[in-house]
């Protein structure tokens, strides 16, 4: 920390003694960062941007949106048609959710590849997973707000999961709905929570960064380095400019979606107003929830599916203790390197199966995928820790090859 920072002006010094904001800003500028970070490390900054963009566009959208079953769909169309640049705000917000998840998946898989969840960074990882789970809840509730067919039926399917809980399931579900079916009380509370959760996420993001600044960044080689040293660069301007460059490239892709195919990531059925009397042929969640949807449906028993769904998330929280290997970066783990890509493939396959009807071959593949997912975390990772012969680690970033 920049405890020894002294502001140059008298007022600055007076203020900083009372509230060390200037010290904080100095710390953020000087923060020693490994100089070998690759572009997979720029997604933290991109994610912060996504969160802020969602909050700002959401704030304006909420000024025009009406949370009522008879008016929600129309109010969205009012935004799309009559509010100045309403179409832009809404498309940024809806595609922004997808971009947010795209970035978070890259961010998470980066952590998996380079072992960023390992000691001393377990708390960063756990906070990150809480953010991820909150993001899913927020996105799900946001998807319900337009009150289209998919909104309504997704809300029905997901809230119905709670009925699987023994004894109290029915009461809990009634309590969640605020009635005996998904209806106006459900919509208004989802809106309220959809507005609130992002600020919880923002708070957790601050903790996430705080926890990061204690041990400092992991790096592609995965060894702990001395900070500051010749292995590090000050965060500003070296990392800020690199993050900015990556953010701009990301924004070009983002804008490609917003301006040229804003509906490609959504489901056409959500442009049909919600109708409790008509069930869509296939109820599917947004793409970023598909792998978990596949896990949920791969179990023939409802309670079993729900347990597996939650287990698949909480298993990630326990990851720092499941992976027994001391070596962080997959670069030096010849077997884990392949296991990692197998997991990526497995999640992609699960995602694809989540979009398909749960029957026949699809269901079979989804079950194999689900089994492999748990096998990866519960068996392969713990065992690999003791049997894998890792490659020798370099002493520092500046000497990537071990001497002698």
């Amino acid at each position: 920390m920049s405890d020894n920072y002294v502001p140059s002006s008298k007022f600055g010094k007076w203020f900083n003694d009372r509230l060390p904001l200037l010290s904080l800003s100095a710390h953020l500028r000087e923060y020693p960062t490994p100089k070998n970070l690759n572009y997979w490390w720029t997604f933290g900054g991109i994610l912060t941007f996504c969160l802020v963009a969602q909050i700002i566009t959401g704030l304006v959208l909420a000024m025009h949106y009406v949370a009522h079953v008879d008016l929600a769909f129309k109010s969205i169309e009012h935004i799309m048609r009559d509010v100045n640049y309403g179409w832009l705000l809404r498309y940024i917000h809806s595609n922004g959710a997808s971009m947010f998840f795209l970035a978070v998946y890259i961010h998470i898989f980066r952590a998996l590849f380079y072992g960023s969840y390992k000691s001393p960074r377990e708390v960063i990882w756990i906070i990150g997973m809480l953010i991820y789970i909150l993001m899913m809840a927020t996105a799900f509730m946001g998807y319900v707000l337009p009150w289209g067919q998919m909104s309504f039926w997704a809300a029905t399917v997901i809230t119905n999961l709670f009925t699987a809980i023994p004894l109290v399931g029915e009461s809990i579900t009634t309590w969640l709905w605020g009635g005996y079916s998904v209806d106006n009380p459900t919509l208004t509370r989802f809106f309220s929570l959809h507005y609130f959760f992002p600020f919880l996420i923002l708070g957790l993001v601050i903790l996430h960064i705080w926890a990061l600044h204690v041990p400092g960044n992991n790096n592609p080689i995965g060894i702990e380095i001395k900070k500051p040293s010749k292995d590090t660069v000050p965060f500003h301007p070296y990392i800020t400019v690199k993050d900015l460059f990556a953010l701009l490239v990301f924004l070009i892709i983002f804008c490609g979606f917003v301006f040229f195919s804003p509906n490609i990531l959504g489901h056409p059925d959500n442009y049909i107003p919600a109708n409790p009397m008509v069930t869509p042929t296939h109820i599917v969640p947004e793409w970023y929830l598909l792998p978990f949807y596949a896990i949920l449906r791969s179990v023939p028993d409802k309670l079993g599916g729900v347990i597996l769904l939650f287990a698949s998330l909480f298993i990630l929280v326990a990851l720092p203790w499941l992976d027994r290997s001391k070596v962080k970066s997959a670069i030096f783990r010849p077997i884990y390197k392949w296991i990692f890509w197998m997991l990526v493939l497995d999640v992609l396959v699960l995602g694809y199966m989540g979009a398909m009807p749960a029957e026949g071959t699809y269901l079979l593949i989804a079950r194999v995928g689900t089994a492999y997912y748990f096998l990866h975390f519960l068996v392969i990772l713990p065992v690999l820790g003791s049997i894998e012969k890792t490659e020798p680690l370099p002493l520092s970033i500046s000497d990537p090859v071990l001497k002698g």
Binding site: R81, V249, F259, P268, Y271, M356, S398
Partner: protein, 258 residues
Amino acid sequence: MFKKNLKFSLILLFLISFTNLFAEDKEMIKVNWSFKGITGKFDRSSLQRGYQVYNEVCASCHSMNLLSYRNLGEKGGPEFSVDQVKAIAANFEVTDGPDSQGEMFTRPGRPSDKFVSPYPNVQAAMAVNGGAYPPDMSVLVKARKGGADYIYSVLMGYEEAPGGFELEDGVYYNEYMDGNKIKMAKPLTEGLVSYADGTEATESQMAMDVTTFLTWASEPHLEARHQTGLKVIMYLIILTILVYLSMRRLWSRIDPKE
């Protein structure tokens, strides 16, 4: 590096072949729409003709309750003149009120009015149409997989049912509908409307025009979106290049090996 790319491509290849394995959708008729692509714009006269088809053919069953008559004169749409829009709106009887006596009354439509619906409510529409509700067309193009191509395909997809295909009363055969059954009778026949601009009203011409109109209706700011998008992305590309150069300059001070 090469090894990494190889792995990527293998995964990608696997996924692509996977996707094709399960693809089973009926090929829709692909039309080269003027509004497709990053510089796509609506064909103004096609939009005007499309409104005529909607108004004279579709509107007897299908509402468009998200649109107002004023929209017909707005930029990026059919762009009828102010007087034309007023005249169009005045053709419709709008229920208004209550007046000072507490009575509802009808008056000629104004540009600010929403499109008048053919039926007072969904139930009335279903009762007249054999239990099927003719969907509101305001966002229909966005509410169907395949969008404009799908709408065009269904309009052109009416055929004689193949031998042995069972059709109930009031149900028609359509090549592109789910299950090949549709409750809407073939809406377009050659020469059904006489276009104000003298264009020959062939079946496919009318289908094209009305689909163009419906696409605009569900995405009225499409042209503005495309134009803004081009500017935004150009701006971003230039900024990205400048930031990239600054980054190179800054990082040249850092020796990766030292």
